[in-house]
Subunit: 141 residues, 2 copies
């Protein structure tokens, strides 16, 4: 089995096409990984979350990664890892804009963190972006 | 959508039944996530890897997590996160034993890291365990 690096265009294409990733962050030196639905606009990854441990950790460390893969079988797969800065979106109009993008992609909303199925972001919901600064992709097959 | 904590038995059952997880680790303060095939024996998670950045980082930090999920749809999913100590398996007989467990579960071997499809571990292949010390599971649906 040969494993090759993907070029940036291919890596970003996979990131754009998929919608479920695994968010990595660090808390007190420990690694954490949680599944998260996201939208990618070519520059940033957007997602939302309930308040909690993850958000508290991200506010402190400010660094996050998102790993996204497409695995056909053990010999045909791709995996992309992006790193970037965690930024909460507090501005009301931008928040609504991102929320609409998420809702367009996830009509019923989804995994570990979700709004409460109302027409607008709930007070406790956090909308955030990861402003990507590094991209790495590897594939096999 | 309600999200509930899973008890330890349910979390470990999911870990035992699945075989693809996302390994999280920290390098120079940055979070990293890679897909990895694993075997769980009730105490430790076992996997293998080629030499590289991941192994170098794990040798330094000694801490790792493995996130495993089962996602039916946006409202029916489970996700388990285990943390533990990274330990390389250097003893030849134990290495072979773990390798056989991996080969039994992955006859063709698989994702990001794999042996070279020969009958025994290659010189450059790393066999390691994560000795689990914490387990957290959440589910919805």
């Amino acid at each position: 089995m040969t494993v090759e690096y993907m070029n940036t265009d291919s890596s970003l294409a996979l990131l754009r096409e998929e919608r479920l990733g695994r968010l990595g962050f660090v808390c007190d030196g420990e690694p954490y990984v949680v599944p998260v639905n996201y939208v990618f606009d070519g520059v940033c990854v957007y997602a939302h979350s309930r308040q909690g441990h993850k958000i508290e950790a991200l506010r402190v460390s400010r660094r996050a990664c998102l790993q996204v893969d497409r695995i056909a079988d053990g010999h045909h797969w791709s995996s992309v890892l992006v790193h970037g800065e965690y930024q909460e979106i507090a501005d009301a109009s931008e928040r609504l804009e991102v929320y609409c993008k998420l809702l367009a992609r996830f009509p019923r909303l989804t995994p570990v963190e979700a709004f409460e199925d109302h027409g607008s972001p709930q007070p406790g919901a956090i909308v955030f972006r990861i402003r990507i600064d590094t991209v790495t992709g590897v594939s096999s097959g």
